[in-house]
Amino acid sequence: MLNIKGIWKSFGGLMALRHISVDVKEGDIKALIGPNGAGKTTLLNIISGIYQPDKGEVFFLGRNISNLPSTKIARKGISRTFQHVELFGNMTVLENIMVGRYVKTKAGFFSSGLKMPYVMKEEKEIQRKSEEILEYINLAQRNDELASNLPIGEQRILEIGRALATEPRLLLLDEPAAGLNIRETRNLGEIIRKIRKELRITIVLVEHDMELVMRISDSITVLNFGEVIAEGTPLEVQKNREVIVAYLGEEEEIQRGYNAHT
């Protein structure tokens, strides 16, 4: 479904990605892991069109999307969340989801101002659908609150809900568990699995929480210093020597998380 072929990217003199190739199968949950600064978020930003690669190509459903702007990529069916939550803070929870419906609706500038009948109909549809999504992610009771007033855990869930509203084929999650406690992380894992199973959306996940990664992902790609050092199922990756070396001497916390699982 998603084929990344030989991506290079540098910022100034800093080489962030060198010759990265990753394939994501339809219906998989793919995790990207690696120490801080390994280039995971950069890769995600390239897929979603926030950065353009220096060299190499990204194919989505067989089409080359490497040089499209993020808006166009979003409309092709790739939606995402952000490492530092990027909600529309001055809008309510429901409105955040409704914005997500933008690409799937088409009321125009003038017809909206004139409030044509079909606009009203569409508006009701947007509202119904958005409320449905809020139910789905268990945030329905919050719908009138300002997004910025939610606790971080719910903000992260809301961001996923907003991404779902665009009805994506591929969902990119950038550290969805950062800042969440154990219970919230569990809940998050459930939701991600539910999305894959019930909505048949392919998921690419960047995450530091090894327990979560190992529990929900189907395959894992490990990056270090902008290069792929290992790839495979959770079990395979855990046994990979290079991965262990890369993580040793890294943050204690990650080490502990890794050990805890084995």
Binding site: F88, V99, Y102, T105
Partner: protein
């Protein structure tokens, strides 16, 4: 429009209808006419700033384009005023596109200066090449529709506030629609808006055009009401005045634009008794109101009402 807006709208229409009956003086009506003209420009700027997050110091340019184009077309080319007004709005929209495409890539202060520069360029063009040059020109025909010409101030009062009402309905509908949500989203986070597939650039340009069209409509009405125009009415000073209206009224609420326009238009009239000191008093009132009503008059009012309601609920 939402429920709350509908109620406010009803009161608003009621007031417009009532004022001429109550005041009975064309002096107050004249103040009302200018307040209405300013309100049209302010509503456009309010959408642009409060909802799309783009600043403009060049509204006077579009206001001037509206006035000059409509005046010249109706005076020198004999077009019916309604046609010339519409053509003026079309011209303003086209100029807005030409300006918006490169300018809206700029942010913050840079965008402010780019629009300021645009406004000044229009002003210089009017001064240098406009009919009558810096002295301006007169004998602009009055507004007429279907053979009926409006000459009385009361007539203009109803015409202009009627248009304000129409523009207000259109704008309120717009900001509570898919497009309006998208605009507020862009204001909050451009990054996320892009990732949601919103046409950020296209929407910004459209709103910019909308604000230009409102301003040019106001300019055209101004020209046909006052029948004499000169470039000095379309200088940077006016752009800043409109900005002041929007901020004083409250940038986050469209009604704020109308309230701001009325307050800023009426204030100098109330300060007449201060004669020489009026500039000083005006400045002081502005400074203090900006400092103490930071969010703008209307949003603060809304908050107060909500609080009162909350208290009422608790009591019951």
């Amino acid at each position: 429009m939402k429920k709350g807006d509908s109620l406010v709208f009803f009161i608003f229409i009621f007031l417009i209808g009532l004022l001429p009956v109550l005041s009975g003086s064309t002096y107050i009506m004249t103040v009302g006419v200018f307040a209405g003209i300013n309100a049209l420009v302010a509503i456009g700027l309010c959408i642009l700033m409060g909802y799309a997050g783009q600043i403009s110091l060049g509204q006077a340019g579009f206001y001037g384009i509206g006035a000059y184009v409509s005046a010249v077309l109706s005076l020198h080319f004999g077009l019916p005023v309604v046609v010339s007004l519409i053509l003026a709005m079309v011209v303003a929209a086209m100029v807005a596109v030409i300006l918006a495409v490169p300018a809206l890539r700029l942010k913050g202060h840079y965008l402010a200066v780019a629009t300021l520069g645009f406004g000044e360029i229009i002003y210089i063009i009017l001064n240098e090449w406009g009919p009558g040059g810096p002295s301006g020109f007169g004998d602009i025909p009055h507004f007429s529709l279907l053979g009926y010409t409006i000459t009385s101030t009361t007539g203009y009062f109803y015409l202009i506030w009627g248009l304000v009402a129409v523009v207000m309905i259109f704008s309120l509908n717009l900001i509570h629609s898919r497009t309006g949500r998208a605009l507020r989203a862009i204001h909050d986070s451009e990054l996320a808006s892009n990732a949601m597939g919103l046409d950020v650039v296209e929407l910004k340009i459209k709103v910019f055009i909308l604000s230009a069209v409102y301003a040019s409509l106001a300019g055209g009405l101004y020209a046909h009401y006052i029948t004499f125009i000169s470039p000095s009415s379309f200088s940077l000073f006016y752009s800043i005045l409109v900005l002041m209206m929007v901020i004083v009224g409250g940038i986050t609420n469209l009604w704020g634009a109308i309230i701001g326009a009325v307050v800023i238009t009426v204030l100098p009239e109330l300060l007449r008794r201060f004669e020489e000191f009026d500039v000083l008093v005006y400045g002081l009132i502005l400074t203090l109101s900006l400092m103490f009503f930071r969010k703008g008059l209307v949003p603060i009012l809304v908050e107060k009402i909500k609080k009162l309601r909350g208290l009422a609920v608790v009591k019951h």
